[in-house]
Amino acid sequence: MINKQSASNLIILLSPRSKTPWRSGFNRLKGQKAGRSRHTIRILQTDLHCSNMPVYKLRYFNNPRRGRAELARLILHQAGVEFEDIRFPHSEWPAIKPSTPFGQVPVLEVDGQVLAQSNTIARYLARKYGLAGKNDWEQALADMYADNINDLLNAAVPPFMEKDPVKQKEMYEKFMAETIANHVVLIEKQLKKNNTGYLVGNDLTWADLAYYAYFSDFLEVKFGSAFLKDAPLLKALIDRVKALPNIKKWTEFRNSKYPEEN
């Protein structure tokens, strides 16, 4: 079926030496040797991306610039998957809200079908693009670490919402000295136990991206690196993620295009 997406993928294959350029081109795509044929179709529809690549639309507020959508964005960028990164102003929310499954964002549209809940969206994409772990147990471990980050995100909400600046400072200090400090000790222990430089198995998973997003993009930016002084393995992990080419490219672009981060 020719639709808007596939129309953009119509190409004409040309090969000067072949009587049937389209066929040799098509066979080259399929990995076969070029050959002769009597057919004369001139235009070949092909999808140069994976022919099963869905159309992804990620919808979230334009502020916070990262917020609950950033983990999905990091996964998609790391995996090199195209998606529409839709950010709408809060003024448009009353019109958009009723169309979401549960009156919340982010939502991910996958070929028009809608998925809600930030961690569900991230897990779905991570599993689809090889960032979830190599077997059921590793996938569960990655889920566990992502849940930790979800708890830490929720724990940061009360100080974030506090309007009195003196009280807010106090709450953040307590948060860093207790909640964060305690967790850093425990995660350092897990990293030492796993001994691969990654949280799960011996390769990057969305768990590492989640820890990077929280500990570097959020905490390091806001509070500096002092809280990592006794956590060399966690520091090495977030530096490793920071330096990944796709992550580096995305964050540099993002920070210049959306400069005010929360």
Partner: protein, 204 residues
């Protein structure tokens, strides 16, 4: 056969969904419960200073939803394909948010204020959510939240709303007849019914 040890307080709380998954699939497991005073004894042995923890042949897994999802996936209650599994994840995340919303209410010591907070929670958070879920149930058309058969998502909704109905009366789900029917259906599944009748009676 793999040995499961589920470690938690002697409460339903954050372990109940995992217990329901195991009970529904009739998987034998060690339902290890301790009293609140004993917590300091067990805390240091957990990966992140929290319970529930599931030990799978001695290897620990933390985080209540991760545990329940792992068990659901291992034992056929997670959904029939990637998309259904994500739909189920989504619903369970919704229940997780609702449970989170009850925390400040549970910890409120002023009884009048607590009652007020709970009413506000029902009105502003639970009821709007119920209406959305009802729409999704009608749209799905099978009586279940995901696909054509029971998943851990249905157990999660049962686990959250059944005790609430017991405490506040069944009428709280009158605005969502399909969800009410689903909760009743889950409650009547023989292995669930038997488990609920025989499990320790705890406040939470």
């Amino acid at each position: 056969m793999v040995h499961y040890k589920l470690i938690y307080f002697n409460l339903r709380g954050r372990a109940e969904l995992a217990r329901l998954v195991l009970q529904h699939q009739e998987i034998v497991f060690e339902d290890f419960r301790f009293e609140r005073e004993e917590w300091p004894k067990y805390k240091a042995g957990t990966p992140f200073g929290q319970v529930p923890v599931l030990e799978v042949d001695g290897e620990p897994l933390a985080q209540s939803n991760t545990i329940a999802r792992y068990l659901a996936r291992q034992h056929g209650l997670a959904g029939q394909n990637d998309w259904e599994q994500s739909q189920a994840d989504m619903y369970v995340d919704c229940i997780h948010d609702l449970i989170g919303g009850t925390r400040p209410i549970i910890y409120e010591t002023d009884k009048d204020k607590q009652k007020e907070m709970f009413q506000k929670f029902l009105q502003d958070v639970v009821n709007p959510h119920l209406q959305k879920v009802e729409q999704q149930l009608i749209k799905n058309g099978s009586g279940f939240l995901v696909g054509k058969s029971i998943t851990w998502a249905d157990l999660a909704y049962y686990s959250f709303f059944s005790p609430m109905m017991e405490r506040l009366g069944e009428a709280i789900l009158d605005i969502t007849p399909h969800l009410k029917k689903l909760v009743a259906h889950v409650g009547n599944i023989p292995q669930i019914k038997k488990y609920v009748e025989t499990r320790p009676k705890t406040a939470l």
